[in-house]
């Protein structure tokens, strides 16, 4: 037991640096993924010709193939057609494209879940499509979407571990590197698992705070 504590004491700085990368990947992919996901949902809801069909294919492809394969295609596959990314860029790109597909479906469902009457009310007051979406529909849809968006975003935090395969020293790869020197997989993997759990739990707190704020209008 004493040796474990000593081990973790030595490994701590490496794991924390790795966790920093994990948080960095997760936050950037979250922000970009939410933006892209919203755009994809809008295009499909508004039935923009061509774009809507393209968006549907994109969502189907991203949800229908493993994230690991997507990461390989972007980092190892694309260079053969002359598109090369730094590992960090490739990781962010893959995570963003993947999570955006899931997020867009949650948003599309939530937008469709807002009563038709609200659109009619917006139009009848002289709001146009975008103003109605922006001021009336989207805020209500957000409230409906938060639980399922949070699901995807928590998955995203854990999925960042997959970018370890493209030489990005995030939490997972950092852990492996320490193990390679110390030959102590159990305490180190458990430590890594604990850090992922803490990050997810912190995110759950954010989710609850957002839900509480959005709930304001629906207290009764």
């Amino acid at each position: 037991m004493d040796s474990w504590i000593e081990l973790l004491h030595t490994a701590w700085p490496f794991l924390i640096r790795g966790a920093g990368y994990t948080v960095f990947f997760a936050l950037i992919a979250m922000v970009l993924g939410l933006a892209l996901g919203f755009a994809v949902a809008l295009v499909r809801i508004a039935r923009v010709p061509v774009l809507a069909q393209a968006a549907a294919v994109y969502v189907s492809a991203m949800r229908g193939t493993p994230l690991l394969v997507q990461i390989f295609v972007i980092y190892y596959g694309l260079p053969s057609v002359g598109i090369e990314f730094e590992p960090v860029t490739a990781g962010i790109l893959a995570l963003t494209l993947n999570v955006a597909a899931y997020l867009s479906e949650s948003m599309r469902g939530a937008i469709a879940g807002v009563s038709r009457n609200q659109w009619l009310a917006g139009y009848s007051l002289g709001l146009n499509w975008w103003q109605t979406m922006r001021h009336v529909i989207a805020p209500q849809a957000l409230r409906l979407a938060v639980p399922s968006l949070s699901n995807s975003l928590i998955s995203l935090i854990k999925d960042t571990s997959l970018v370890s395969v493209i030489t990005v020293t995030e939490l997972m790869l950092a852990t492996k590197e320490v193990i390679a020197q110390t030959f102590q997989p159990l305490p180190l993997y458990l430590a890594a698992a604990a850090i992922y759990w803490v990050l997810s739990a912190l995110f759950e707190r954010v989710q609850r705070a957002v839900e509480k704020k959005l709930e304001l209008a629906h207290r009764h």
């Binding site: 009457n117 609200q118 009848s124 007051l125 002289g126 709001l127 001021h135 409230r143 209008a217 629906h218």
Partner: protein, 381 residues
Amino acid sequence: MIELKNLCKQFVQKNGQPFNAVDNVNLVVPEGEICVLLGPSGCGKTTTMKMINRLIEPTSGQVLINGEDTAGIDTVSLRRNIGYVIQQIGLFPNMTIEDNIMVVPRMLGWDRKRCRERARELMSMVALDPDRFLHRYPKEMSGGQQQRIGVIRALAADAPVLLMDEPFGAVDPINREQIQNEFLLMQRQLGKTVMLVSHDIDEAIKLGDRIAVFRQGRIVQCAGADEILAKPADEFVASFVGHDRTLKRLLLVQAGDVADAQPTLTASLDTPLQQAFGTMDDHDLRYLTVVDADGKPLGYVKRKDAKASDGVCADRLNPITITSNPDENLRVVLSKLYEHNLTWMPVLDADGRYNGEVSQDYIASFLNSGKTHGRQRAAPK
């Protein structure tokens, strides 16, 4: 003023056949009046109204507002100049009451201060305390309060025309009655031109200066409420307004209507009883009202007292216990008569002068006569 000219809406049904949801509708709503579009569901009344602010594009025909063809106005500015009270209230649950009311003024670019003042003014019009309610969310208010907010939201930018799609359908009957009364008072003050969709004949009678009865996309009758009840154009209208339609007219016909339809006969204190008897005999009356020089009633004499008596009316005077005023509707009048076990009562004008009388016989003969209510409608009390 709203004018509909040859307005049509054709939909293509699933089987490919065209279907005329609105079929050549012509209608004029003069400025400051309330016109109720009445009919069963699927009769085209809501479609007709939605074509006015182009929530539905007409297939053909014209919509004119204050003489201007609306086809030339873009939908956004058209809608901002037409208040619209949507079915099921339609408040935005994510916005506070103030934000809900001020959506249109903000879009019109009103400054913050003007918006705030307008919101307070509108709230006081429906007797809701601005300090208590403006910062609440719709869910934190009762159904009746939400309904009132729905109406003032439509009035926020002071649009001259107001469209209402079953506006009072979402509240209980007691609240509805009260909100209808408030609305009617407000409409009379503001002089808005209103088109209101309803399937409720009682609401139509209460609110409509004019009622357009729809059936299968066409207007089958357009007239004042009393005329619709007294002379329904066909069997459909008659059954839609209900077979108790003559009783419904009691609300619409006023004591003054009935009194005006009869000769005004009075006696004075020094009129000989024989002469009073003669008057009653000639007109088949059982009572005659005795008035002073100013025309104010002092009492009445009975026919049987006058018949075999000498002397003057003053000798046989009976006191008058109950009177009516010309604006009272017949429902109230009849209720008073039954309450006091009387068959008639004098109608007095605002100065207390005798203005004729209402009796059960007179009411029956008025309702039977083919005459309809012709007096100015009073706002509800």
